[in-house]
Symmetry: D3
Subunit: 341 residues, 6 copies
């Protein structure tokens, strides 16, 4: 039987007003769960792979429901440590047209951010595992979590488990300086580096030229240099960068580049009407892991990852809910959206 993929991070309760209501108008919040690494695990499980998510969750119902939300899609939750007081929360107000989406975090003091090394037995977790994934959010949760993450990376390296990291810089959690310092250490153990159009600049000061993100202009070419410099500094085997051009909160262009250490592969670009933009990057990560595990040629690999994440933008919630067949159909060029009967 196939080996597992393990992801490690925080699972948050996501509270979001329905439709396009502003916070001040909402009488109720849709209650789902999400978080970078959990999103990757769910997407991989939906692709039919064996995925396990590692974290720490309180024993009460608000913690249990988060676990249920993963089990529902077949994610292995048996290694999630239980204990602590609270589930981190993020409030999400969906934007539209010129009005941006808004996220308010309320994650301080969550069980995972207060976890200790003893909560995780990596030897056991990494039994029969082929891939380990985390994002830059995990070490940003606290020095203790950064240390746990480092330990996991080292153990993965020993066991020849492929390690991927999505840089995912969050300025509410740590400074660019601290992010740079800690990610530098972690990236030594990383094989596959994933970033969006801003991360490399924020974390490592490696910026793309000719790009003005606020104005919705993204120079695809400028990212070749970014990837190359990342590769040079950390000896990644692969670097993948997503390229979002934000026309408005409702319309984005979406593409990505894969650098395999030798060549650069650009995906086709999609013009997307956005249903839910959160988790877009994570669904890309999952797509890339899937196509890597299945040894797709580089061009196909990046097309698969971008098609997967393109579809995610049409789906409510953090989790990507698409099958391999659906992704392949889009990656293969069928973007007409005709009814399937």
């Amino acid at each position: 039987m196939s080996k597992k993929i393990v992801t490690f991070g925080e699972l948050m309760l996501r509270l979001a007003p329905e439709r396009y209501y502003r916070f001040s108008q909402a009488g109720s919040y849709g209650a789902t769960y999400g978080g970078g690494e959990a999103n990757v695990a769910v997407s991989l499980a939906n692709f039919g792979l064996k995925a396990a998510f590692i974290s720490k969750m309180p024993e009460h119902e608000i913690g249990q429901i988060g676990i249920n939300s993963l089990r529902k899609y077949g994610v292995d939750t048996s290694f999630i440590a239980r204990g602590g007081d609270r589930v981190g929360i993020y409030f999400l107000e969906k934007g539209a047209s010129q009005r941006p989406s808004k996220v308010i975090y309320d994650r301080a003091g969550s069980s995972i951010s207060a976890a200790s090394k003893e909560d995780f037995d990596w030897d056991k977790i990494f039994e029969n595992v082929q891939w380990f994934h985390f994002t830059g959010i995990t070490p940003a949760l606290g020095d203790n979590v950064a240390e746990i993450c480092l330990e996991a990376c080292k153990r993965a390296k020993e066991k020849k488990i492929t390690v991927s990291c999505d840089l995912n810089y969050r300025n509410k959690l740590w400074s660019k300086e601290k992010a740079g310092r800690i990610m530098e250490e972690l990236c030594k153990y990383v094989n596959v580096c994933i970033a969006n159009e801003e991360d490399a600049g924020d974390v490592f000061g490696i910026k793309a030229k000719h790009t003005d993100i606020t104005a919705g202009k993204v120079s695809h070419e400028g990212y070749k240099e970014v990837a190359q410099e990342l590769k040079t500094r950390f000896n990644f085997s692969k670097v993948a960068i997503t390229l979002r051009s934000s026309i408005s909160a409702s319309d984005n262009r979406w593409a990505a580049m894969l650098y395999d250490g030798k060549e650069f592969f650009f995906s086709r670009e999609y013009l997307m009407h956005i249903v839910d933009r959160v988790g877009g990057g994570d669904s890309f990560g999952a797509g890339l892991i899937y196509s890597s595990i299945n040894d797709y040629p580089s061009q196909e690999a990046i097309e698969f990852a971008v098609a997967a994440s393109c579809l995610k933008h049409s789906i409510e919630g953090d989790y990507n809910q698409v099958s391999v067949d659906e992704v392949k159909k889009l990656a293969g060029g069928n973007a007409s959206g005709r009814v399937e009967r």
Copy 2:
């Protein structure tokens, strides 16, 4: 008082997650009813015509509610046979952007698919009737239904009732080969033939050149030949073909062509943001029947039918809920969507 239009087919329970939820996310389904011929009847009733729908429905509440959904709009349901076990169901997941809509049918064993000739007294049904309409779905429900349909067509012919048929090929219900064979027989009695950009090819092997539907490219010119060949083979008095260019699940271009045996009339083309695409073709059929009954000149007729169906795409559910005035306003060129106070 004006004569009735009669349509004959299956009325299904439509179960659809709200908004853009995938099936796997839905905790409830919006429950409405729909089906090609019922959709036409409702649309005609909303235009102020007398429309009757013929089918067979179980006596229990799930059957009765379907009938209620028609009575609500004034459709005559008094000839619907009652009995059998179940209402056919279709599950509909609405697509968005690059993600297509998805339909799962659960219609086997429905009351209408198990109906027999004795359920329908066409002599009584066709009293004071001017038009009979069915689609290719009806005979596809089973050989028994195909025979009932044939009987209805013959009786209509005898009574000089105009017969229209929307080819509406469904590959889940029958093979192209079988569809071709049975529709060939039925089309002998048909005066007005309606088809979408794929039907003539699927049913009769008559394909438009220079058209790649999956890629969203539709050659309007290629359909002239299609119409002409249909006319030649079946001696239809009119052939109308809808021309959908699917840019994405959210955006379609929509137009149609009418061939009156002499000339070809192309409607203007609309770029539509789609609210609900199901029933789009049926609303076109209803528009065409309305404009035919009211002796609109061909160009006006096709503009009316296309405007009616264009509006349908902005309306939830299978049924088109527009008045003649609303259609005329759009057909007359006012597509600016300004608030009407």
Copy 3:
């Protein structure tokens, strides 16, 4: 402490089917409140200013809830007269794509339309006030209300309170002839005149050249003359005209022009996906009042007002729910809609 802005008009109960449901499909109505002048008051309160709304509302719950909806945002409601029988209602069906939004008014006999001069003590109301605002809807409610409005204008003038008026012509309420006659009288007291692309023509017969509103074509240049003529006739200190090009019910272009008596200032133009179009003009008025009170230079002033109202179009309900910071960000050029975390 800063002085108040006072607005005077009708507050209606707004009953609207959810999403894009037609009236005939709705099993429930979203119940909010709105009205030109109340919308301005709420928007100003959301900008952090002190705003008071003046009207008359019945004592029962349907009246009280309207008041609650204003208090929620900090609007001063202490001068609203209580009494009379009913709250005016408007039913709103939201349009989509080629299908226009539809408004059905049921406002006859509302408390404010039956109010008398004794209901309002303008001397007290105007204590510590810097600005008075009304729209053309208020005097259209009845001759009694027109007289009350005139009294308010006169008293404002005496107290050197700036008076603004949004012409806002409603053909369901009065004829163009009557509107012209009464507005002529009221405009003598007005300093700042606000109008949309049709109002000056409807009320005063001053039409822009080269403009076909139904076709979605608006000649920005033609409005220079309109503004100039308005200025000439009424000696307004400022004339602001909003310029909406309606592509469809879902997409509008939006811009405005400000004439300060010397120069013309055109804002940038936004292409908007519309969430809710009602109250768009009112949010513009509030933006203009805010920027005027804060002595913005003319170009900044019009950019602020247009950005505020652009954001309104992405928000459900009549009330604009945006902060000064949010407006400034957009007015400053950041329209990419990227998530704010």
Copy 4:
């Protein structure tokens, strides 16, 4: 084929917060339709009888939807006059436990209240009719409506149509004095008189002894005299009085008495958990009409009517949605509420 029952009155839009929300908490209103006589018509149609409802409704959508709500259940709406400005509205807040339900009427100026004699051609309406029903609300809508009602009563008498009247006193619509005077005149034409435990007292000053309604105490015996006096004064062939003991807004006891001019028949009494209490009396009226038309013996007749209305209290909305079978099962003694599979 069986003859029709005709009812005449006002159909109102009913706006009610969901569940037990107070008005001040509701963000939306459930939107249904109801009115004493329409409720009777729907209930009779649900019993399988031919029922027609007569009223006047505006031509716009808010009027049309009311008509749709009747057509849905098969009520004949073809004699409803169209025109006028508005649909009467009532706001309903559902009570619970010690908190009473609350109704706010907003019905002044409705189309039916402004109707004229010319709107109704009673000769045509009364073709093939066996029964005419109205309630005391109809003549209370205005002197014009009282006159129309009187005309209908006279014409019914001439045609030997049975006339029933539910006294249904509404103190918001007219004084007891005026009600008494006008109902006196109308009751001359009435065969079957229906009243609740307060009506005879309010309208004709005929009060039951030993009854304190506010305290939830109802002396069944005291109503014998009330019925007898009604019979004596108006020569009714039957008098039926419903006997509600209100324990709380959530729990009521419910029974009724039928006086056939000779004997008194008391139904069994039900202890009901209330889902929706509005329309309870109307569903009793419909039950009585049904059992009268079907010549039930008096004891069975009153049991049927009470069982029908008992079931109504478990159903949301004004309309009673029960079949004859369901009523018979309860009237026959099966009140255990066991699941029917």
Copy 5:
């Protein structure tokens, strides 16, 4: 690690109008899943045991979501066969007060009812298993399913797995005669027999004296003889009978009796306000299995099972969502329902 409990049967899609709406009023259906044996599995998983559910489900989304609904609670679904066309459906209308709940089944042709022996490898399924449970519904699905069930029973016997069966007679699925014949054969392999107050009579003709279920009267004593005769005929080690006294659709009394072959143990009786009555018996079965596996003394065992099912009646949906702690608290006598903070 503890051994598994395996249950085998059909998982249906349950479609239920919200709250107390009748079918004819519902615009949407809550969509959950349920079925006797699946309900037991979920309840056991919620008690912290390892439970696996065996069935056959189609591969499409409507099948997958059913599986998701089980995985969410940690039920092992890895042995569910995939294939076939449809998921059985049941429509549920919730009753209130005197109005009974109503179930409409639409389960013919479901994947499990069309399953064959090859779909299930009982040797593999029964690895590391301690208990096997099914209900009388499973063999009623078809002769093929009855045979599969018999095979499972035999294999369980060989492996010394305890077998429990809930008689659960459904007259829509088979005649009493056929049920008796087939259940007779299956019961030879059953150790623990569960029945409600009607089942033994329906299936085996063993009726309790002095009991009139429709009238809500249940003679607890009469069930001693029923249990004894069941024991005598089938040599069950335990017989448990639930005793429901239905006061109304809203209020039931609920208790049960356990016969351990020697003594009779009656639980305390609960007066329940019913939130959702479906699955009440299944939650009792799960409670009994839990208390049996944990070797509770008989009185404690029956109290646990009844308390568990009492709580189920307060919970929406088929699945019982309670923890062992919650059940113990109630079984221990704390039924005051005070808020737990």
Copy 6:
């Protein structure tokens, strides 16, 4: 103009699944706000009094919305300090029948719990104030908050403001020992002491005899001694104790006792069907403050307070939404719940 009542405490975001859903079933949470002292302020504002609420709330939207929820009802929020990071949250699962309601607190680190003395200028806050109210929850939030509370009490004493305190013991926030010690100090400044049937025992070890709360038995007489001892120890001018007998989560008996230092006054007892039990005690406190300020005689005072809180139990959310008229009607004996038209 009348003087204000000031209350001081925490305002929490309340997240509650709809209806009777368990946490594990909820896809969304109703989002309202509540907290002991805020609930009192809203209830007093709804009684027409001037009420101000004092707390500290973050500046972001989740804080602002809480303030909006108070402004909506006219509560003065101008002295609420702004700052800090988060709003305390409580998750509420509503119980039914034998299943208790469940509260999960997530309030650590809220803005008010991290407030400092500098955040509140009591001299300004207490301008034109007649009454100050807090509950035992406020000092339990932290030593800093206890100190602020003590300061407020002292300042109130100096200004001859009446001070009331609801003991309201919360074992999740502090130990009984600590509660006793700190409340002892604060109670020196309290004039009116409010408690439920457990508080005096939990906080001060003063227990009622012959009472077993879990079993739903409450000895009204035993509370006389409790009140007397409280009076003796703290020299309260009034002691009021609510007496809840919990029959189940759905049904409670509700009464209270007032001790004015001389006599004991027992209210009538209500049997309540519970819609929402949270805030029941707070609504009692508000009723008592209202009746005290209005100098009601003791028996009337306690009847008013109990009637007010009885009505609260029929209302969703923490806030009591009733008028003085409504309370008086119930307190005056009209508990029949008949519809008010």
